[in-house]
């Protein structure tokens, strides 16, 4: 790990945001959370209505980070081999041989678009690759390139014919990012940028090795004991008796909050984790891990509201 990467990390993140901002208007929080998930060497789930530039955002991020990007459009007939790759017979010098043809999962950044439309079998193959960071086809195991980041998207509408991800698999995503509609000013800017002949493009800001360095640096960001305690207490509070919560978050959420808070601190140019980082990251980390009761859902309550209540009550 180079000392230089740390000293220039402030500049790197500033340039990254500036560069991504050339293409993506607004959505600063979503972009920040995608970068946090990448810095934590984990994965993220994005939920938004159609047409909010999910694909554009992630492809822009991959270009700025100089990483290989691939996109998988998930459909019910998508097979696991369509993701992982398969053996094909190849004729080499009159001899027929099996050759492994890598699937789209062999990239640094993979966009699994509408993951809930893929069959559970295909979802499992995808999630196994995410967890193990390797793919086994036949008898051979192929490690995935580093860094490896999956951004899966879910559409909150049109739920017919979908296979919602089970809670155990949702837990594997570090963050659940919500992308909301842009403000009027932002929408005006989007229209201005994308109705001209010159479509905005993005330049590479850092190299793959620098991304890996930043991932290592993220884990080195120190955290005070009382701040760490707060993160753990927040997660434990989701498991305590609460009339709005059916199931609380697992200890993986505690790891997630602290790791994400470290990445946020690094992105914000701080060399320590602040309580503010913990509170900010509690929402995307717990959003998909806390299951609300039927009664709370009936009342129209969201997990963010429940998390906000917990944050107020936890010391």
């Amino acid at each position: 790990m180079s000392n230089e990467t740390y000293t220039s990390s402030n500049r790197i993140f500033k340039e990254l945001f500036d560069e991504i901002g050339k293409v993506i208007v607004g959505q600063r929080e979503a972009v920040e959370q995608i970068l946090i998930a990448i810095m934590c060497n984990s994965h993220a789930l994005v939920e938004s209505n159609p047409g909010l530039a999910k694909t554009l955002t992630i492809s822009t991020v991959s270009k700025a980070l100089d990483l290989k990007f691939s996109r998988i459009q998930c459909t019910p007939d998508l097979m696991p081999s369509d993701i992982t790759g398969t053996y094909i017979i190849e004729d080499i010098g009159g001899k027929k041989q099996f050759r492994f043809e890598a699937g789209p999962v062999f990239a640094n950044i993979v966009l699994a678009d509408e993951i809930n439309r893929a069959s559970p079998k295909t979802q499992s193959a995808m999630l196994e690759a995410m967890q193990e960071k390797q793919v086994t086809v036949g008898n051979k195991t192929y490690p995935l390139d580093k860094p490896f980041f999956v951004l899966a998207t879910q559409n909150p509408i049109e739920m017919e014919g979908t296979y919602p991800l089970p809670e155990a698999q949702l837990d594997r995503f570090l963050l659940k990012i919500l992308m909301d509609y842009p403000t009027r000013e932002d929408e005006n800017e989007i229209v201005n940028r994308y109705t001209k002949n010159i479509i905005p493009s993005v330049d590479k800001v850092i190299s793959k090795s620098e991304v890996l360095d930043l991932q290592k640096l993220t884990r080195d960001v120190p955290i005070a004991e009382d701040i760490k305690s707060r993160a753990i207490n927040i997660v434990i509070a989701t498991r305590a008796k609460n009339e709005n919560i059916e199931y609380g978050a697992s200890p993986r959420a505690s790891i997630g909050i602290i790791l994400a808070a470290k990445a946020r601190a690094l992105i914000k140019g701080r060399n320590y984790v602040s309580e503010e980082d913990i509170d900010a990251m509690a929402y995307p980390v717990l959003r998909h891990r806390v299951i609300l009761t039927f009664e709370s859902e009936r009342k129209g309550m969201t997990t963010d509201q429940v998390v906000a209540d917990i944050l107020k009550s936890v010391k």
């Binding site: 790990m1 000392n3 740390y6 640096l217 080195d220 960001v221 120190p222 955290i223 005070a224 004991e225 009382d226 701040i227 690094l266 060399n271 320590y272 984790v273 602040s274 309580e275």
Partner: protein, 283 residues
């Protein structure tokens, strides 16, 4: 040891020295208050009256007792001093060190690029911090002034006998409070012969002579139902107007002088006077 830890240690010892000084000043101030009270109430005089054996000069007791009170109360007031989270105290005063100081301290045994940068930043920040800023000199001086005032007061009280409350007043007050006063007054029993005569009422006799017999008037405390004052009904002993009864003035309690004068009258006069008395009794 990291540079910031050395500075922190120095700062800590500086703050604790000031805390010790504050403890000492508080102890002296409280000692002064108690010693003054002991002088004012003539504690030494009362200690001299006690029957307990005291193996050392009695004059030592008030200051020693005041010192013990002073030390005890000062200890109670400062009992949380050692538990004070110094890092939070510093972070509150110096916002630029907020969260940084505890983070650096909690991770003092580790080392990496980011942590080293943080430690060096904290070390630089601690250069601006001194124990005088945490526990201000103004605070110390004000406490010192208060202590001097109390001490001066004690010296004045000790040298001026007029400031002491008279022993008799304290004794009386003590008797009133404890209720021992009535028991201590030994009343001489009144002369039974004097009871009923002019001025005899002041003698408060316990034995009265009635029809030649000595009757003990002492009221003994009652027992069982009805003997307590609260148990007596308000309406229990009300006077009931009796029926009219023919008056016989000659048979009534007329004074000795009046009776002999009546006896000298004629029968007619006697009957007339009696008739008059009967008529008057009907009005």
């Amino acid at each position: 040891m990291d540079e910031f830890l050395v500075k922190l240690q120095k700062l800590k010892s500086g703050i604790f020295s000031r805390m010790k000084l504050l403890f000492l000043l508080d102890m002296i101030a409280i000692f002064s208050i108690f010693y003054s009270i002991f002088i004012i109430i003539n504690m030494e005089y009362f200690l001299n009256k006690t029957t307990f054996y005291i193996p050392f000069p009695i004059s030592f007791i008030p200051p020693v007792l005041a010192l013990l009170f002073g030390a005890g109360i000062a200890f109670l007031l400062h009992r949380k001093d050692r538990k004070i989270n110094l890092y939070i105290l510093i972070e509150k005063k110096f916002s630029e060190l907020k969260e940084k100081l505890r983070t650096a301290y909690d991770n003092r045994d580790e080392s990496n690029i980011i942590l080293d940068a943080l430690k060096s930043e904290v070390s630089g920040g601690l250069d601006k911090v001194s124990s005088e800023q945490i526990l201000t000199t103004g605070n110390l001086i004000s406490r010192l002034v208060i202590t001097i005032i109390f001490l001066s007061g004690t010296v004045i009280i000790a040298q001026n006998p007029d400031t002491r409350i008279p022993v008799q007043t304290i004794e009386d007050l003590g008797n009133t409070l404890t209720g021992n006063g009535n028991n201590d007054i030994q009343e001489e029993p009144g002369d039974p012969e004097e009871f009923g005569k002019a001025g005899g009422i002041e003698t408060k006799p316990k034995i009265a002579s009635i029809e030649g017999k000595n009757i003990d008037l002492t009221i003994f405390p009652g027992y069982e139902q009805g003997y307590e004052l609260k148990d007596v009904s308000q309406t229990q002993n009300q006077f009931i107007k009796s029926a009219a009864f023919p008056v016989d003035i000659l048979g009534s309690n007329v004074s000795d002088g009046g009776y002999s004068l009546l006896m000298k009258k004629t029968e007619t006069e006697k009957q007339l006077i009696n008739k008059y008395a009967v008529e008057r009794s009907k009005i």
